[in-house]
Symmetry: C2
Subunit: 421 residues, 2 copies
């Protein structure tokens, strides 16, 4: 009765999926300026309406919760059956790409439609969900936090947009802080699993020529503002040996962190994304250098060890060049491994479809990271061309999108079948 028990796995409707991918990619598209579909923008609202129109066309139920999460539902015969949730987000960053988030929502819709078309009677409710504000126009992965029942008033206090802008936007959508904080929460017992298909947003799958990434977990990150204090001096009159040049500390840290990752933390990544020298003139030795450092790891202990090693490097650089040092921890987001059952279901689906697959971590945060707190969560990656993302050039071959959606379908059916036991 289930696709995974037959010799030929159930697959999606390629033409319908391709046409919809094309159509959705037009909503909010601004040419060279890329995808302009930030949360609750006119384009975002249009995309959500478009999604529900597709659901209605397919004879599926729709549902909006009090966090604005938009769901397309194929109910189980048994009203008490748990739900297999599939989804991602329709919102984009400013000047983003067509696929980040959108692919996962459309794939989820297509899986639900394909199951309905095939007349399969699953022991679970199947639900495709577009989760609110993953990209954090207001608060990153807001819809997931609300659905998982883990949103706190503190998280709504300083939204990236400013608080007034957020409250205005919520009001215009008929939403409220109270609704976000309580009304959207689902009882974890009612959710059998959460699966998300997403573009890799990195170059690995393309480089190694592999079709499917089975996400082992989402890297946590820790970020720091590191400030070296030297002394501003006239760069013409001050001999090199009399300088305390804050820029030297920054430079040595940048190279040192790179080396640290290569030698001691090969499974981690780190980035110095910003450096500011003060006062910032050709002829003044910098008295201040502020460095923005971010480190990422899949494992909690490793993230701490890497953070400590980076701090130690900064201290060594400061000492070598006679500089003062200040380190401010800006943020920490714990690593979240995916569920082993979900990984097995994804691997099995890829195998049955004859697709090459590899286990890999995700460097970016996703809705699945939040959902992993309350349910069996898994993620499927498909290759990103040249690893480009959050950019108009973000792209993935159509066949890779189809492959990923078929894997999502197969894994969903597998988890649905398991949920009977």
């Amino acid at each position: 009765m289930f696709a995974d028990s037959s010799s030929t796995p159930l697959t999606i409707n390629d033409e319908r999926f391709a046409a919809d991918l094309q159509a959705l990619g037009q909503i909010g598209w601004a040419g060279a300026d890329g995808m302009q579909r930030t949360s609750f923008s006119a384009a975002h609202i249009e995309a959500r309406r478009w999604l529900f129109d597709r659901a209605t066309d397919a004879g599926l139920d729709t549902r909006v919760d009090s966090a604005g999460n938009h769901s397309v539902v194929l109910p189980a015969a048994d009203p008490d059956a748990p739900t297999v949730l599939l989804g991602s987000h329709l919102d984009s960053v400013p000047s983003g790409g067509r696929l980040d988030g959108a692919l996962g929502v459309l794939a989820a819709l297509e899986v639900v439609r394909s199951v309905k078309d095939a007349g399969l009677r699953l022991p679970v409710t199947l639900e495709a969900v577009d989760l609110t504000d993953e990209e954090g126009t207001f608060v990153g992965t807001l819809g997931s936090w609300a659905l998982a029942g883990q949103l706190t008033p503190g998280m709504l206090r300083t939204p990236r947009s400013g608080r007034e802008a957020m409250l205005d936007a919520l009001r215009r959508q008929g939403l409220s802080e109270e609704g976000l904080l309580s009304g959207a929460r689902r009882d974890p017992a009612t959710i059998a699993a959460f699966l998300e298909l997403h573009i890799e947003q990195g170059p690995v799958l393309e480089r190694i020529g592999t079709q499917i990434g089975i996400v082992t977990g989402i890297r946590g990150n820790a970020s720091f503002q590191i400030t070296f204090h030297g002394a501003a001096r006239h760069a013409g009159t001050t001999p090199m040996e009399d300088r305390r040049d804050a820029g030297l500390g920054a430079a040595e840290l940048i190279l040192g962190v790179r080396d640290l990752i290569t030698r001691e933390f090969p499974d981690c990544v780190a980035n110095v994304g910003e450096v500011r020298l003060h006062p910032g003139a050709f002829n003044v030795v910098p008295e201040l250098a502020r460095v923005s450092l971010e480190v990422r790891s899949l494992h909690d202990g490793e993230l701490d060890a890497l953070s400590d090693a980076a701090r130690e490097l900064a201290a060594q650089s400061a000492e070598r060049w006679g500089l003062g040092l200040e380190i401010d921890a800006v943020g920490r987001w714990a690593p979240s491994p995916t569920d082993e059952r979900a990984r097995r279901a994804i691997a099995g689906a890829a195998h049955r479809l004859g697709l090459s697959a590899i286990e890999m971590p995700s460097g970016a945060g996703h809705d699945a990271q939040v959902m992993a707190r309350i349910t069996t969560a898994g993620m499927v990656f498909v290759p990103s061309r040249e690893g480009i993302s959050h950019h108009p050039d973000e792209d993935t071959d159509l066949q890779d999108c189809i492959n990923g959606t078929n894997v999502l379908l197969g894994a969903a059916l597998e988890l649905a079948a398991e949920s009977r036991h």
Copy 2:
């Protein structure tokens, strides 16, 4: 008849000099915000008036040329006698110190007064000059360029203040572009020498415990904007080996330049005063890094060799990290050695006064650098406390200021005596 032929050299009036130094330091002083006496500001004009009042008190002539240079003159008996010019500038940078420039003008005034008080009859006219806009509110060392007859229309085209602001300011002072370009020029044959006393603006004299610096020349400089081009990528999803991180090129250049000076160009200095990473976010690998590099040397050929070596370092860094490279030459200011005769006169004066002295280059630009193009030019340095300059904390012990002024007096008398032959 001359001080340098007697056993006890002529010296200045310490009390008068100290009182005037105190009084001049009040004009434009803004407490913690330091000296606010930019060119043609109310405080600057007040300081020039104060200077002329002192001249009148001392029974000296005054003169303003068509570049606004303010001179205090003790004429020779022979109207055809050449002039020994002594001077510096009364203007300051914004939030500068009390002594940069001002010490040299006041010392020049004190030398002229002391010669007059002593009733010496010199074979030269002695002139203390406050040269217009050394600090470049409009155009750096403007007054010297005009006096040397080397100002060109091109140099007035893009003043730092903007052209309209400069023209307005000139008009308010009764000056004009035409006057600057021709009227202020002196025939080099009428100038016997130019001497300038200045604070060192560096830490060397204080560190080695020496009272007088005999400036061997003013370092030239060459400045470059060096841009490394990488690729902006998600810092979480892009493995280290797939990155082209422009920040690594910048970091390696910063450390490499420091090392280059230490190993191969120990008499030179270099500075990276500014670094900008683009887009400049925690989680984006920098696609651009712009580095502001300045190198300085006392010798023309060495300046070019150092510039070439720095370019080569940048090219190596770019190649190692797979980056594109762009190097823009921003400016070049040729080194200008001081005159041997002037150095000898300064050394002799210091020796006769029992002051310790050392030959040293000047890292900063000065009026003497321009004057050296048309006459025998020399500079005397006195120690700067902690090497601080262009800052409210700029300071020099009063005794060091007195010592320097006595050396200026002795050297002026020596060059005056030589001009007879």
